[in-house]
């Protein structure tokens, strides 16, 4: 399965819904999307990963890159994920301490630091 990406605006947040597999082949598409959003002035991103089937370290690298970009503009990057197999990858790499991870888009959109 390839990667699917769609974006929508909720208040001052931009929700990026990601589906399919994020790996060494597809991660550049996600990177392009995040870079484009930041370049267009969207600094508060919510990445909805509920429809992601597979995530590897290349995908993690892209998310960390996105976080760096939004932070440069005092923005935020929040993740939405309830899937244990995806959450496990964040845990073993220690990235649960880096990303705020929410159980729903509503919760992520409502969250403030």
């Amino acid at each position: 399965m390839d990667l699917s990406l769609s974006t929508r605006t909720v208040g001052d947040r931009t929700v990026v819904e990601v589906g399919g597999e994020i790996d060494v082949y597809t991660a550049p598409k996600l990177r392009e999307q995040l870079v484009e959003l930041v370049n267009d002035g969207s600094y508060h991103l919510v990445v909805d990963m509920e429809r992601v089937d597979f995530l590897d370290s290349t995908g993690l690298g892209v998310l960390v890159g996105g976080l760096k970009r939004v932070r440069a503009h005092e923005g935020s990057l929040r993740l939405v994920c309830n899937q244990e197999r995806i959450l496990k990858i964040f845990r073993i790499t220690g990235l649960t301490k880096v990303f705020p991870i929410h159980t729903s888009v509503d919760e992520a959109v409502a969250a403030t630091d």
Binding site: E21, D23, V24, Y25, F54, D56, S57, T58, L60, G61, G65, R85, I89, I92, T93
Partner: protein
């Protein structure tokens, strides 16, 4: 001889194929269903790393994956063609020389190894004259043996 041997051109689009094949062979070998996600992820990480190394060192030879079914364990060996330079330190040297884009790749390479070592109990990374190798293994259950 390996149960299944896979060679693929060092291109990112083929890593998914390697994951699918590895998971299929692992399932058949009797690796627990609950662990198959880990097998898929670990072999993907090892292959992504090998593809990155081949690209950054401009190596035309294919990436080699051996899937080996033994009595009590299932092993995967992912070999790259970078002689003696598959350590993170070797990749870092190349990254510094070639600029910022390479530094990103190097970070992902290290994260890939971190994921593998976090996932797999039995893992060994070696560097040889003919290239580097990541060996991983998982226990199998005898229940999967077809009578």
């Amino acid at each position: 001889m390996a149960t299944v041997e896979l060679r693929f051109s060092a291109l990112p689009e083929h890593v998914r194929t390697a994951r699918l094949v590895a998971a299929a062979v692992a399932r058949r070998a009797g690796v627990d269903e609950a662990v198959l996600d880990e097998v898929r992820l670990a072999v993907g990480e090892a292959c992504s790393r090998a593809v990155g190394l081949h690209e950054s060192h401009d190596i035309a030879s294919p990436v080699r994956v051996l899937l080996i079914e033994d009595e009590k364990k299932f092993s995967i060996e992912v070999g790259d063609g970078v002689p003696g330079g598959t350590t993170a330190a070797g990749a870092r040297g190349a990254g510094e020389a070639e600029g910022a884009a390479e530094s990103d790749a190097e970070g992902e390479d290290e994260m890939g190894l971190a994921v593998i070592s976090g996932l797999v109990d039995d893992v060994e990374v070696t560097a040889g004259e003919e290239g580097g190798m990541i060996r991983m293994s998982w226990p199998t259950t005898t229940a999967a043996t077809i009578p």
